[in-house]
């Protein structure tokens, strides 16, 4: 398990370096989403690579333009990461009760679906959500 964590950290760190150094908009060796490639529609994750590149350069506004959902989910994921790290280092079995509230997944599901539909609408207020 510890080996897995170390390997994961190495992979994550090298990904961070790659996404910092290369702009996915300019270099074409980054994998393209199959959903976007064949259906020509944006999925909820489209724009993530460019958003990460922008975030690593501390350009939050640009990142929001690529994938708003990713940027909005970051605080939530940061809280989860902190809680996991806390549980790991204090050897406690703490779980955020928030994730186990019956309403949480439903709200997240609705947000993701609305985002998915909205970013594919070709009208002005929604087209800002497109990747």
């Amino acid at each position: 398990m510890k080996l897995l964590y170390i390997l994961g950290s190495i992979v994550l760190l090298s990904l961070v370096v790659i996404y910092y150094k290369f702009n996915p908009e300019v270099y074409n060796f980054f994998p393209e989403c199959p959903f976007h490639k064949y259906l020509h529609l944006d999925c909820p994750g489209c724009g993530s690579q460019r958003a990460i590149h922008a975030l690593l350069h501390l350009n939050v506004q640009k990142a929001m333009g690529y994938n708003l959902l990713l940027v909005l989910s970051l605080p939530l994921l940061a809280v989860q990461l902190f809680s996991k790290a806390y549980a790991y280092f204090t050897n406690q079995n703490t779980v955020l009760g928030f994730w186990y509230n019956p309403n949480t997944p439903k709200i997240i599901f609705v947000i993701v679906m609305l985002f998915w539909i909205a970013r594919n609408l070709p009208y002005t207020p929604f087209s800002y959500l497109a990747a």
């Binding site: 908009e25 300019v26 270099y27 074409n28 060796f29 994998p31 393209e32 989403c33 199959p34 959903f35 976007h36 999925c43 909820p44 994750g45 489209c46 993530s48 994938n67 959902l69 990713l70 989910s73 994921l77 989860q80 079995n93 779980v95 009760g97 994730w99 186990y100 509230n101 019956p102 949480t104 997944p105 439903k106 997240i108 599901f109 993701v112 679906m113």
Partner: protein
Amino acid sequence: MEDQKPQEQAPFGQPPFGQQPFGQQSFGNPAPKNWLVESILVTLFCCLPFGIAGIVNAANVNSKHAAGDYAGAQAASAAAGKWTKIGFFVGIGVGVLYILFFVVLGLGGAMMGNYR
């Protein structure tokens, strides 16, 4: 791992039977892993709608556990884990295939701009 939790928590409270609060999480039976965070990550990064299936199953885990249906919650947990893992590995697979395809086609293109 989930099986050990009731025993670990036994000294802190009542035995797990006979006190199932309605609409609340019971302390005797901790909710099975609902894979919600993992499925959100798959939805955002693996670019495939498998994460959505994970989120739906996470919703099932939480609502069934809140209703006291522990077996149903465990089944939903297994389904959520299955879909999240499928999404994760398909995402990684697509990425690796893409990179391999790229290497096979020739590294010459690697530094070329994207002309779209």
